[in-house]
Amino acid sequence: MADTPQPPGTLPPGTPPGTPPPGSAPAERPGNREDQQIHLTAVDEFLAWGKENSLFYLLFATACCGIELMQAGGPRYDLDRLGMIPRATPRQADLMIVAGTITHKMAGRVRTLWEQMTEPRWVVSMGSCANSGGPFSKWSYSVLNGIDKYVPVDIYIPGCPPRPEALIDGVMALRARVRRYRTLGERDREPLVVGGADAPFGCHFPKDAPPGARS
């Protein structure tokens, strides 16, 4: 298995699901590696464990992806398993899932909501409309092509709408990033694309997936 030629960018099998495919994230910057954290303390790691297991997401569903976000909170996929409850006010939310199309008229509000959230905060861009305007990027005059023009995005989840499993895959990738959050350490701001361009899209792979595909 190990010596079969791997397509570029795929991960060796057995890596934890949350880690980003090498192709999508830039080379690790020097200050970012585990043992080079200057203020690495056990308590910081424990605080990160707390943050990872209790990400309250902002109730912010605009379009079709909003319905998939509700389904992800519903009985079958249940984001509450991961400790994520929807909060109505940005003050009590750590994570903003921008689910759906953001038009120019709405863009300013997205920025205000992000500013009202309390640090440490993360942004997940769910769906192609939020990533890059999606099906409306070419012919629509009123749709903002990508919310990263207004707010810093941590995780991009492609799909129109992405399945709840893809959303949870994105959340697991975000949890991997939150696990590395150090209060005084340097935050990695590089955006990460779930199921990036070179890895096959989607998080649940048909049985006859190519050998190199992520498990």
């Binding site: 912010f60 605009t62 079709c64 009985p75 079958r76 008229k105 099906p135 409306f136 012919w139």
Partner: protein, 396 residues
């Protein structure tokens, strides 16, 4: 309990509900003038999800518009597809040379998926209204049922929410082998589940008192303000496009139309929030009956020949669809939120000249200003829920 529009304490406070507000379904913003508890006046503000579907309709070819109709009403996307495809077929039929005959099996599949999607759309509508009045559990039970419908649709056309399944001249794929059995199983367990759902929330005294007599819309008002669908029928107007202006094979299925009769009893009025809630639940029962009728009428598949007039699932429209005849057509179908009217203008080229879609939520949003005067702040939320407003249908 009539409360005059000017609040008793006199001084006004402007509250801004939305565009990100737990109760407004999506990005609907309402500026409320109130003294804190009683609403003096409210002005909705739209356009936060205006994706210009109608302008896109003038840039893409005829069959490419279908995926965008999914995104006009993503809660009930099958009906949205069906509305556009029936309109284009009617446009093609105006010229006898380009007439299109949809196979019987495709018509049955269309009714089947449209009614199933109406069920799952009403479950979200009814659940969201219950959540607006504070009961979270019915919403999650509603979503659980919606998941089962999503499974069926996923096997059918690969997508859970925006299906792009109904195409001009038929449907994209035939039913998978045990689709009929699976749908029948779903319908049986769904009826049992609905009884429990109704005991939990519909017959609940607190919920009934919360919605009884709130924002009652008389029949004349509903017609004048252009309400359609469940909102119109709850006000006592007995009109349903599937029965009174039938398309496809709806005239062969006896469509029974539930009408609002002041279900809330002593304190309720015809056309109040509770009536709209109950009419949707009665419509869900009708849809279950229609699904079973469509399953019974389903002819066996014509193995191999998609365009077979009886067993096929797709009429042969490839060359016809390239250039529909020049002219205009107005066509209406009954979506979950009422009459979805398409006005198509074709100039004989591959690209539509004008695609106009009139949706039920647009006129429902129009009546907010008229209806939400003198009610409580908590009722503003219940009224929005009762009109079952989906924001992309308003903003398109």
């Amino acid at each position: 309990m009539t409360v005059e529009a000017t609040t008793p304490s006199g001084e006004r406070m402007t509250l801004n509900m939305g565009p990100q507000h737990p109760a407004t379904h999506g990005v609907l913003r309402i500026v409320v003038e109130s003294d804190g508890e009683i609403v003096a006046s409210c002005t909705p503000d739209h356009g936060y999800l205006h994706r210009s579907i109608e302008k896109i309709g003038e840039c893409v070819e005829w069959p490419m518009v279908v995926p965008y109709t999914d995104r006009v009403d993503y809660v009930c996307a099958m009906n949205a597809n069906l509305a556009y495809c029936v309109a284009v077929e009617k446009l093609l039929n105006t010229d006898p040379a380009a007439a299109v005959q949809v196979p019987l099996r495709a018509e049955c599949i269309r009714v089947l998926v449209a009614e199933l999607n109406r069920i799952s759309s009403h479950m979200v509508a009814v659940g969201a209204m219950a959540m607006d009045t504070g009961a979270v559990t019915p919403f999650l039970h509603g979503i659980a049922q919606r998941e089962l419908v999503n499974d069926i649709f996923e096997k059918l056309c690969g997508q859970r929410l925006t299906y792009n399944y109904v195409t001009v001249g038929g449907v994209a794929f035939d039913l998978y082998p045990d689709a009929a059995a699976e749908i029948a199983r779903f319908l049986d367990q769904f009826e049992i589940e609905m009884r429990r759902f109704n005991k939990l929330i519909t017959a609940n005294a607190i919920f009934r008192d919360r919605c009884a007599g709130v924002a009652a819309v008389s029949a004349a008002e509903a017609i004048a303000w252009g309400l359609v669908g469940p909102n119109l029928r709850a006000s006592g107007v007995d009109y349903d496009v599937r029965r009174d202006d039938p398309y496809g094979i709806y005239e062969r299925l006896q469509v029974r139309v539930p009408v609002g009769q002041g279900f809330a009893g002593r304190r309720g009025k015809v056309g109040d929030c509770y009536d709209r809630f109950v009419v949707r639940l009665l419509e869900v029962q009708e849809s279950v009956r229609l699904c079973r009728a469509a399953l019974a009428m389903l002819p066996p598949p014509a193995d191999g020949k998609p365009a077979d007039p009886v067993g096929g699932f797709q009429a042969d429209v490839k060359k016809l669809l390239l250039r529909p005849p020049k002219g205009e057509v107005h066509c209406r179908t009954e979506s979950a939120r009422g009459e979805m009217g398409y006005y198509l203008v074709s100039d004989g080229t591959k690209v539509p000249y004008r695609v106009r879609v009139r949706t039920g939520s647009f006129s429902a949003a129009g009546i907010f200003h008229h209806v939400m005067r003198g009610i409580f702040l908590a009722d503003v939320v219940a009224v929005i829920g009762s009109f079952d407003v989906v924001v992309p249908e308003i903003d398109r």
